[in-house]
Symmetry: C2
Subunit: 254 residues, 2 copies
């Protein structure tokens, strides 16, 4: 497959490397910023482009991996291509593309990417959607080359998945940050709590979280709950979070 | 060192195996339940005991690893021993022991243990405390044999650490459970979100969480926040948690 990549951010970079490593041909990398386009293009043996008018018309697949609110604009420049055009967004509807191009799809990797950290695509869930069965088959075949976890999801389910991801990723990370705040205020370093964070996540790789809940709330240990709440008297925002989440744990069916 | 272990639960089991593997001599394992005592005793080549009157008086170290509210009772039976008596609790004061025995300390591993899952002690932070410098040196030497992370912490700091652990372990696990609830209600499996959970924890192994926060709240993406809140209209408890944590993320200094 001849692939054109539009975007040079975290998702685009990780995706381009994964596709290249499986022998796919990346013909062009587009970015508004030529330096960024060149950096990534060189990495995957593609031509760097910073002008949407210079995008080739005869590629098989166009992957738009830009900020959500720029997807429509980029798609508009692909009106004349015959290949399949996909975006990589969790929240953007496929119709945003279908208003601009003939063949559209979604190729959404469910992961939190950082520039500085390599991540193996093999275990990243790829959620795909397409306008018809043939296009879906093309995406499924490509997705299966780079990941062992390919899911066909419509836009509604992809939205649900994105909401669940906020609970499973963004909120836990914030709670790590609050733990760090408590530690720092008492002269303790975040380092001390890292093994516990790693093990907590590792535990649910083979178990469902509701089956391995630990701590004072699930034990109904009111002494410890009250001690902790009073330790947070000077931090009412954290006290509120402690109370809210402890109550929610108590309400959880066992 | 001749060591007597009082308890046969998760912490006792993991600790006994780690000590044995480093060549320490476990002479007795006590449990109210003889079968449990025998199971663990056999594993580490110790004598199984289910009667506190049969505990040897001449061991070097007694490790009490039972439920918090049973520590005092077990300690009472060790009034006549000359060795050092420690407990493994995060929240129990050292004075609970000092009221009963001559030489007391704390040997608290900061980790979430499951029976079914092996865990390497090498990376588990061990928090120690003792009545005097000599006893502390003994505990430090022993702790250093099984873990590379040994911390001398007084009771106040140990309490703070336990509170931070609730934020870093118990609450994130509950949020995983809520994510699973959202997924299940929409016919999606927890499996799809496991790689994201693993990566979220892995990210903070080399970074501080406040520096790698992602998601709609930290981006100030009000469209997505409002969409998510309205998707939770039928789950007011989850809606409240979503609102509370999103507000807290927005308040976090960057």
């Amino acid at each position: 497959m001849k692939i054109v990549l539009l975007g040079s951010g975290n998702v685009a970079t990780h995706l381009a490397k994964a596709l290249k490593s499986k022998g796919e041909e990346l013909v062009q990398v587009y970015s508004q910023n030529l330096t960024n386009a060149e950096l990534l293009a060189r990495l995957v043996g593609a031509e760097a482009v910073n002008n949407l008018n210079k995008i080739e018309n005869n590629a098989d697949l166009y992957i738009i991996s830009v900020k959500d609110d720029a997807i429509a604009t980029v798609a508009k420049s692909l009106k004349n291509v015959t290949g399949l055009v996909v975006h990589t967004s969790g929240t953007t509807d496929i119709n945003i593309l279908l208003e601009q191009v003939k063949k559209a799809g979604v190729f959404y990797p469910l992961q939190t990417f950082s520039k500085s950290k390599d991540v193996s695509f093999e275990n990243i869930p790829l959620c795909i959607e397409a306008g018809d069965e043939d296009q879906l088959a093309v995406l499924k075949s490509l997705a299966s080359k780079i990941s062992s976890q390919v899911y066909e999801l419509d836009g509604e389910k992809r939205k649900v998945l994105h909401l669940a991801a906020v609970f499973a990723c963004n909120f836990p990370n914030h709670l790590y940050a609050l733990a760090n705040k408590i530690l720092n205020q008492n002269g303790l370093d975040f380092e001390i709590i890292r093994p516990l964070i790693a093990e907590t996540a590792d535990k649910v790789m083979d178990n469902l979280p509701e089956n391995v809940q630990t701590g004072p709330a699930v034990r109904g240990d009111e002494n410890t709950l009250n001690t902790h709440l009073s330790m947070l008297n000077d931090m009412p925002e954290l006290q509120n979070i402690y109370q809210t989440l402890s109550n929610s744990i108590k309400l959880m069916p066992k």
